[in-house]
């Protein structure tokens, strides 16, 4: 199809054509054939128009919205949580589970902190030297023979191992 016709195709199909377009169509078989076919199709598509009388009868159908909502509900994907939150029993179970989880969490956090405090205290005691009132040679952290009175690392580790074994 030539550009002149292509640029004005919508007007040509609607039957609004200018003199140059008409002249070209009278001279060009290819464009004329294509335009004729396109016009026929445009007319053929009119069979899809709904008659006004039918439009009126369609508008009077009651309860359509309710049926749409029923369909939406039927198509809503089911969730495992839905059952929980929709019944009173399910809600109670959910709340009880949540409370239990919180209590367990609190217990875990506090017991972990207590363990850390105990471990830290014991380590400090070991590092600080013999526990007062106890006469255990293995707990002495400053072994004899260290030059300048500095604690020897190997000796400290050996003492710790002995302490753990006791």
């Amino acid at each position: 199809m030539h550009r002149l016709i292509r640029d004005h195709l919508e007007e040509v199909i609607a039957g609004l054509q200018s003199a140059p377009v008409e002249k070209h169509l009278s001279e060009c078989d290819e464009c004329r054939d294509e335009v004729t076919g396109m016009r026929e199709h445009a007319a053929l598509l009119q069979v899809l128009r709904t008659p006004p009388a039918v439009e009126v009868s369609i508008e009077q159908r009651p309860g359509f919205y309710a049926r749409v909502m029923d369909r939406i509900e039927a198509q809503t994907p089911a969730s495992i949580w839905r059952g929980f939150f929709e019944s009173a029993f399910g809600r109670r179970i959910a709340i009880a589970s949540l409370a239990l989880a919180v209590l367990f969490g609190v217990y875990m956090v506090t017991s972990e902190q207590t363990d850390q405090i105990v471990t830290a205290t014991q380590t400090n005691q070991v590092l600080a030297g013999p526990i007062p009132g106890e006469d255990e040679p293995g707990l002495v952290l400053a072994p004899a023979g260290t030059p300048g009175g500095q604690p020897d690392d190997d000796a400290v580790l050996a003492n710790l191992v002995t302490y753990q074994e006791q």
């Binding site: 294509e34 076919g37 128009r49 709904t50 439009e55 369609i58 359509f64 749409v68 198509q75």
Partner: protein, 198 residues
């Protein structure tokens, strides 16, 4: 046209926020148009009801993806036409399945029981025309199909289509031209197939 700041956009935002009253308003505002489009394509009241329900269910589930680039009606129109063509495709598949179960003997018995003269030639012609239109429109993309239907069936102008779709007028003209050409070629191919079958 600004689709984001209209009264319709406010309604869409309420529906996107799952406001049921707003959704009801949307359904009531567009239901007759949707029915009319479906009936235009299928010519069947019962199927129209079923498909219209499915159209609004789709609108409900996908309205959060509506980006205001086109008008709401154009968007609903697109869903409706696509739903009709899905339905026609499924129906054709079902029909093929039934026909494959239909024996030669059954066909002969049925032919013998049918009246010799057609009851309504006009109705047959209209049916054949709609069948041809459906076959031709299946050959173009859903987007092109919507555009040509909005132009030729709904009677919108190129300017209106540009405003409705958010595309510029030249793009609309080019798309329409290509769609018309595809329809012509599809019709020629169908004609050749029919001629070979005769």
């Amino acid at each position: 046209m600004d689709h984001k700041n209209s009264e319709e956009a406010a309604l869409v935002r309420r529906v996107q926020a799952r406001d049921e009253l707003a959704f009801r308003e949307l359904v009531e505002r567009h239901q007759s148009k949707v029915f009319s489009i479906i009936y235009g394509i299928l010519r069947n009241h019962n199927d129209a009801e079923d498909i219209a329900q499915q159209v609004f269910a789709k609108v409900y589930f996908s309205i959060r993806n509506f980006d205001f680039r086109s008008s709401l009606l154009t968007w609903i129109y697109k869903i409706t036409v696509n739903e009709c063509y899905d339905y026609l495709r499924k129906k054709r598949v079902r029909k093929l399945v039934y026909e494959s179960d239909f024996s030669q003997e059954d066909a002969q018995r049925m032919e013998a029981s049918e009246p010799a003269v057609d009851q309504s030639v006009a109705a047959d012609t209209s049916l054949a025309q709609r069948d041809l239109v459906a076959k031709l429109l299946e050959k173009v993309s859903p987007e092109d199909r919507n555009l040509i239907l909005l132009k030729e069936v709904e009677g919108h102008s190129v300017e209106e289509l540009a405003a409705m779709t958010g595309l510029n007028e030249n793009t609309i003209k080019v798309k329409l031209f290509r769609t018309r050409q595809k329809l012509l070629k599809a019709a020629q191919r169908l004609g050749r197939v029919r001629a070979t079958l005769k």
